[in-house]
Symmetry: C2
Subunit: 338 residues, 2 copies
């Protein structure tokens, strides 16, 4: 069987089977495969847990030279890894760059890449401390980011996990859905005029402060929307063994997205990736206080999009009421589960 | 100007200029660009420093399908990053994988990759705790490894640095030089019969225990030979602002390499990469005790290959007495300094 027939998630499951068989599996390392970051809590230590994540963008697969400037590529490639730290409620601290170049790039272009990455690092308080340069037949930009979990008291790390949702929990998303994917299409069609979408695509803002705030308010379950809201819900559902039921009608879409995509806007919202918003769950009792307090701290909207239920027989992780046609689904290796 | 005209090290210098300009440069992060790992010593913490490194192998650039099996690729790709931790005298703990596949690979092949990586992880006590799968037009295998520096006492991290050599220091190398590069040529020419070289190429052994031992014996300066002994000496010379003078005649080459390459064996030894031995410096006073103690702990040979001198006017970082022709030099982006 080929990898393209197997699909991405079964591939990860196979990797996980091998890697977790390691006899000397370190008890200090938790979560690992199956959440946004690996968590390493050194024993006999008062130090907060170390969070680790890595993300790589490949030219032609994750970006096209005509839709992203070198400077924006620097920003958005680093933002993708910073968002993984945010999705755990952590503090990003150190970044390492992996840079694959053909050699035909101009020095000025690559300087712009460094400048954009530096802007992102400054914005989120990250120090870029090394990396690896490689020759490659197309451009590769990858970032490893390490950070700390909040609450440096002894005991297990406090992080936002995908696996902490319970039946009855309310599902909430920050900000707007689908803007980045729509921004890409704006650029590809060269139709212009919807700057907020283009900006969402080129200069995404990982929700680092917002996630830390949620963690400090007792929220336990979250992930980011790097592969779209539908996928975020599926990841939470599968990790938590619940069913997540969302209502497509209430998905928050920016006015510009409605103007650009009209009846397709909910497709973008459900399946469009690279948004880096947070999807999290909260108990019904805590919901109204949380919404009120949030409103005093952030301008970014919070939107209730669904609810967790007991997982029925015959697994369907996510249901979408009033679902659109589903035209923007993206898969790394071709086939796709559910 | 193109990147291929600029060359790899000036590229890294440019990146460094941007990344170190970040206003909020974290005082807890040291070394960074310019050594084998970034070092992150969290303040207000009794925790030993965190070491971070990342290394990526690209098909066609760093490996060919016909010269390395999937299983060996799993091993050697992880070994490259483990060696960076070893080069600092640290303890490797956690690894994240970056895996780029076309989708046309067989599932069995990729299982072998996971199995080989698992073997390497087991051998060096590393837990593989996550990663990133991407679609790519050729195979990419990258590893981020995080570890700890030895000596968890308060105060600055104790690590082996490239920058700690002083004039008068003796330069020493572990094991054999050039075996891996020669092993690759054995495979390419399909001449067979020199299994030790092939093994060095396919199953390199990072010197993790050896480096920790050296650090515990007071050695301060080291790097690995991932880009060959000549390059290791240049990195130490440049970081320490000394001149390193080596004698090509004394470079330790395995009998199999002499049999395979005859008069070219010193070329392999100087410029062949992917050996993952250690080059370190020691004061003349400490040398004989160190050699004797080493001999009681390890079977691997230690060889004195040169000496550090005061850097003369008109920078020449490395001199090679009795130098061979120099046919195996490798550069990532075409042009090369010195």
């Amino acid at each position: 069987m080929k990898i393209s027939e197997l699909g991405e998630f079964p591939l990860i499951a196979r990797a996980s089977k091998y890697f977790s068989s390691v006899g000397m599996q370190n008890p200090d390392v938790s979560l690992g495969i199956g959440d946004d970051c690996a968590v390493w809590q050194p024993s006999e230590s008062s130090y907060p847990s170390v969070l680790l994540t890595t993300d790589t963008l490949v030219e032609g697969v994750h970006f096209l030279q005509q839709t992203v400037s070198w400077r924006d590529l620097g920003w958005k490639s680093l933002a993708a890894s910073v968002s993984d730290i945010a999705a755990m409620g952590g503090v990003p601290v150190v970044a390492l760059m992996t840079l694959g170049l053909t050699g035909n790039e101009s020095v000025e272009a690559v300087d712009q890449l460094f400048a954009g990455a530096t802007e992102c690092a400054q914005t989120f308080g990250v120090t870029i401390a090394g990396g690896d340069t490689i020759r490659s037949d197309f451009v590769i930009v990858g970032w490893t980011v390490a950070g700390t979990a909040l609450a440096p008291d002894r005991g297990p790390a406090r992080v936002l996990r995908r696996s902490a949702a319970r039946p009855g929990d309310i599902v909430v998303v920050t900000g707007w859905c689908g803007s980045s994917a729509a921004g890409l299409d704006v650029l590809l069609r060269e139709c212009g005029g919807v700057q907020s979408l283009v900006l969402a695509h080129q200069r995404p803002l990982p929700r680092v402060r917002e996630a830390q705030w949620l963690l400090s308010r007792g929220i336990e379950c979250a992930t980011d929307t790097s592969d779209g809201v539908f996928e975020s819900c599926r990841l939470i559902a599968e990790a938590s063994r619940v069913q997540v039921n969302i209502d497509a009608r209430v998905l928050p879409v920016h006015d510009d997205l409605v103007r650009f995509a009209r009846e397709e806007s909910k497709d973008y919202a459900l399946y469009g990736g690279e948004d880096y918003e947070l999807v999290f769950t909260v108990t019904p009792d805590a919901l109204s206080d949380l919404l009120e307090e949030w409103g005093r701290s952030f301008e970014l909207p919070l939107t209730v999009i669904g609810r967790c239920e007991v997982l029925p027989d015959g697994v369907q992780w996510v249901t979408v009421a009033h679902s659109p046609a589903g035209i923007h689904r993206f898969s790394h290796f071709g086939s796709e589960t559910q």
